[in-house]
């Protein structure tokens, strides 16, 4: 599998696509999120696995998002996600709240090829009350009155994440962050950015194989150095708290976000293209 250019990858994301993204602590491809924002894709339906962070907030701020399904949207230590909060208040996005294990479970149902999976908890929560697509049944294996929630399988159109490296066969290594594997398994297509492409086959190496996602799940790979930033990438680089804090400060207003985006999302490409 030959790597493609980041902007060529972003060009394969159609308006209205359902996009699954890991949060800031689990290898988001911020590079691809920015490329999608640059392209001006519209009406995306974001899926937080299991929560949403910086990448989701900038896509919302850039006007790319119609809907978000997630368990929380947060910038972590930097506080609430400002563009998410503003869009919710303005009514410009639909928010479908879930709870973390439910996000995982809905993807696992697709991973196993079943139409639903059960999950404990949830009963009596307004999360459940506001999800007409979730069902409550009597547990067929339990005593009378033991009710349980069934969650429908969720299959995002596109899974997006950032791995450490890809090999000559298109296998991607990202270590213990296995939720990215679930995203790849459950999504119809997976678009993966990596720091680098190396020779060989990770599946032939017992040490690397267990942290590898097989190329069979991966549609295309683009090289994006420091592509998770400001999020951390395993032992490769740390979280850039100052960058996120500045974003949180500027993005409090739409005008502030636009100023930030002009500098951080749109300007570098114009410069690079010159």
């Amino acid at each position: 599998m030959q790597p493609i250019a980041l902007d060529a990858m972003a060009a394969t994301v159609p308006d209205g696509a359902m996009l699954a993204l890991p949060p800031d602590n689990s290898l988001p491809s911020v590079a691809l999120a920015m490329a999608i924002a640059r392209r001006g894709v519209k009406n995306l339906r974001l899926v937080g696995v299991p929560v949403s962070g910086f990448a989701s907030d900038i896509l919302i701020g850039a006007g790319c998002v119609a809907e978000i399904q997630t368990s929380a949207v947060s910038l972590g230590e930097a506080g609430f996600a400002p563009r998410f909060t503003a869009a919710l208040r303005a009514g410009s996005i639909v928010v479908r709240d879930a709870t973390c294990p439910a996000m995982h479970t809905m993807l696992q149902a697709t991973e196993k090829g079943v139409p639903f999976m059960p999950l404990r908890g949830l009963i009596g929560s307004d999360i459940l009350a506001n999800r007409p697509d979730w069902k409550v049944i009597q547990n067929p294996f339990g005593p009378e009155g033991d009710i349980i929630v069934l969650l429908p399988a969720l299959s995002p159109d596109i899974g997006v994440f950032h791995g450490v490296m890809a090999d000559s066969h298109g296998n991607v290594w990202l270590g213990r962050r296995r939720e990215c594997a679930t995203i790849a398994h459950a999504s119809k297509r997976a678009l993966v950015t990596v720091e680098r492409v190396v020779e060989g086959n990770f599946l032939e190496d017992e040490r690397l194989a267990s942290g590898t996602i097989n190329a069979t799940y991966i549609d295309s790979i683009a090289i994006a150095e420091r592509g998770a930033r400001p999020a951390a990438l395993l032992d490769e680089y740390g979280f850039d708290a100052a960058y996120v804090a500045e974003y949180a400060r500027m993005a409090k207003t739409d005008a502030g976000f636009q100023e930030w985006a002009a500098r951080e999302i749109f300007h570098p490409v114009a410069a690079a293209a010159e």
Binding site: A72, A81, T99, C100, P101, I123, G124
Partner: protein, 249 residues
């Protein structure tokens, strides 16, 4: 001996963790935004208790090798004995609102979201509620939206409930049988009347309410030394503010 609020709270949480009348805390998970509960857990562990700590979002040595799903699977298996939860609103029946005020999904003030609370609260053997802000805005009679339910209907599978609610002003014990909090101790300088005025929900007051015990010299030494060392990587800002320690560059 001088101590600050966070140190008092950490010591208080540690005492609740060790409460011999509660189910044993062999394995505790601590969420990302929880430096005070994390310090409390380290205090229990560094005092020699045989406890396993799974600190989420720990960058090096993250305990989970199946991704973030593993915390919830572990909890589903019944292997997590104790978890901490907070909330934008907490009510007198220990219901938690992490979603937002006003109309669903938080058209008033939107909080980040429920995270795993709707699951963890019911599947963990016990939960300690922690919220430093103690005001009628946070501690309400009835939450606007229930992210996580305090008491379940009979027959609904549930492993545990809130054990207590620790705020910046007092400790409440929770009684799932009667669905109410009772005042357990007052932090130094507080009175029952102060707490009533600052609390939006009704609670029980039984007998004389003692003050929350102050940290001992040993506890403070542990917090400021080896525990700060452990927390520096994950909570640099907290360590700088509370312990006046900065991570090496």
């Amino acid at each position: 001996m001088d101590y600050n609020t966070e140190e008092l709270l950490a010591v208080t949480l540690a005492r609740l963790i060790r409460d011999p009348s509660a189910p044993p805390a062999r394995h505790i998970a601590v969420g990302a935004a929880s430096p005070v509960p994390a310090a409390a857990c380290w205090l229990v562990a560094k005092s020699g208790a045989p406890v396993r700590l799974s600190l989420l979002h720990k960058r090096s040595g993250n305990p989970f090798t199946e991704g973030t799903r593993e915390l919830f699977d572990l909890t589903g298996q019944g292997r997590i004995d104790l978890f901490f939860l907070g909330g934008g609103q907490i009510d007198g029946q220990a219901n938690l609102n992490l979603v937002g005020t006003g109309e669903w999904p938080g058209k008033g003030v939107r909080f980040p979201g429920s995270f795993g609370s709707a699951f963890m609260y019911m599947m963990t053997h016990r939960t300690i509620l922690f919220r430093e802000e103690h005001s009628p805005r946070v501690l309400v009679d009835r939450v606007d939206n229930i992210s996580a339910l305090g008491i379940s209907a009979p027959g609904v599978f549930r492993r545990g409930h809130a054990q207590a609610l620790v705020t910046g002003r007092c400790v409440f014990q929770f009684h799932p049988d009667r669905g109410r909090f009772s005042l357990q101790s007052l932090h130094p300088g507080e009175t029952v009347e102060d707490i009533r005025a600052a609390t939006g929900f009704d609670f029980d007051v039984e007998g004389d309410i003692p003050f929350t015990p102050a940290p001992t010299a040993e506890e403070l030494a542990l917090l400021r030394g080896p525990i700060c060392d452990e927390m520096l990587e994950t909570y640099p800002e907290f360590c700088a503010r509370v312990f006046n320690r900065k991570a090496a560059a």
